[in-house]
């Protein structure tokens, strides 16, 4: 197997690939229509701060016959990242695009039980932690269903291009762990990244087979992180939406 290094740039330019130091998420420009909920002021969370079992999942698709460099394909992926998402996983693109330090707002819908339609809303977001010519990584804030990061990359393997999504995450709190382990959220998340890679392949006219490799990095839950449930983005989004009529009445009475 031959694998080319995905980072041909100089060390200096690669150091600019990291997001600037920050302790809390800050949304500079809220896209039209976005709730911007559960993101502003939240701390970033790595798998260390999560609650549930830690999984590393690697999704790959071979872009057979696609010419061009990994950097060219990654540029297309970055520009169309929001378009490649399934309908129930709405990413709001930012004016700056996928650059280190940018915040991408997300409004997703999840099924309450396996096999049911997706209607439970979750408003959240991610920070672009790292971005270079051939990869980028997003990191989650407190309250997000998963604590950790997803890395998207394109590289050469065996004379062809491969697009990859790799996540290293734990469910953030006990409720998300239950959904993940018993109520189908894990499978739904797998479908999201499979859809994204399939969409990228289809963009190039390739009917690619997405492969998934799962590694259980840590089978134990971290009970000391059970408190994370206070910032659960799903619960807070539902309460926010239930409070919409009250906010509307208050707003009307002030006018």
């Amino acid at each position: 197997m031959t694998v080319n290094s995905p980072n041909p740039e100089s060390t200096e330019s690669r150091d600019n690939a990291w997001a600037p130091p920050t302790s809390k998420m800050k949304v500079s420009d809220v896209p039209v229509g976005a709730m911007n909920l559960n993101v502003e002021g939240r701390q970033l969370v790595s798998p260390i701060q999560g609650f549930g079992q830690c999984w590393q999942k690697t999704f790959k698709v071979r872009l057979s016959g696609v010419t061009g460099s990994p950097a060219e394909v990654m540029q297309v992926w970055k520009e169309n990242f929001h378009k490649f998402q399934p309908r129930e996983n709405h990413f709001y693109p930012t004016m700056a695009g996928i650059k280190p330090g940018e915040v991408l707002l997300i409004e997703a819908k999840v099924p309450p039980l396996p096999g049911m339609p997706s209607f439970l809303p979750v408003a959240t977001g991610v920070l672009v932690l790292y971005a270079d010519d051939t990869s980028f990584t997003v990191m989650t804030p407190e309250g997000h269903p998963e604590s950790g990061w997803n890395t998207f990359s394109v590289y050469e393997e065996d004379g062809g291009l491969v697009a990859q999504t790799q996540s290293l995450c734990r469910p953030t709190d006990p409720l998300f762990e239950i959904f993940n382990r018993f109520l189908g959220s894990s499978a739904q998340q797998d479908q999201v990244w499979t859809h994204v890679l399939s969409s990228l392949a289809e963009h190039y006219g390739v009917k690619g087979q997405v492969t998934l490799t799962k590694v259980l990095v840590d089978p134990k839950v971290q009970w000391k992180q059970a408190k994370n449930i206070w910032k659960n983005a799903g619960i807070r989004t539902v309460f926010y939406l239930l409070g919409a009529p009250v906010r509307w009445v208050r707003g009307s009475s002030k006018r």
């Binding site: 197997m1 031959t2 694998v3 080319n4 290094s5 995905p6 980072n7 060390t11 690669r14 150091d15 690939a17 990291w18 997001a19 130091p21 920050t22 302790s23 701390q43 970033l44 969370v45 790595s46 798998p47 260390i48 701060q49 830690c54 590393q56 932690l129 790292y130 270079d132 990869s135 990584t137 990191m139 950790g148 990061w149 890395t151 990359s153 790799q166 290293l168 990095v217 840590d218 134990k220």
Partner: protein, 117 residues
Amino acid sequence: MTNAKVTMEVRKANAATSILDIQGEINAFAENALMDAYTQASSSGSRNILLNFKGLDYMNSSGIGLLVTLLIRVNRQKQRLLAFGLSEHYQQIFELTRLNEAIGIYPDESAALAAIG
């Protein structure tokens, strides 16, 4: 992995402590080198694993992911993971990714060894 641009030397600081001297780049291709070095340190009976980053040329987000995976292994073995020799830039990356909350960071080897006691 064929394109690992890293070498790791394992040396004993004392009976309970091993130091992994990292030279080069920590990215996805460094997985085998890092885990092999850790296995070597563990098999010698070390309870404390010190990562020496003085020779680090570059680390990307996949490299940070490798360190999280290593940290989880270390914790499961009831060992302790510490780091020293990080540049200011990578100290900031550790803070950004909150790795510094789980991996003790020290300016140099003597300070890290003193912290172990």
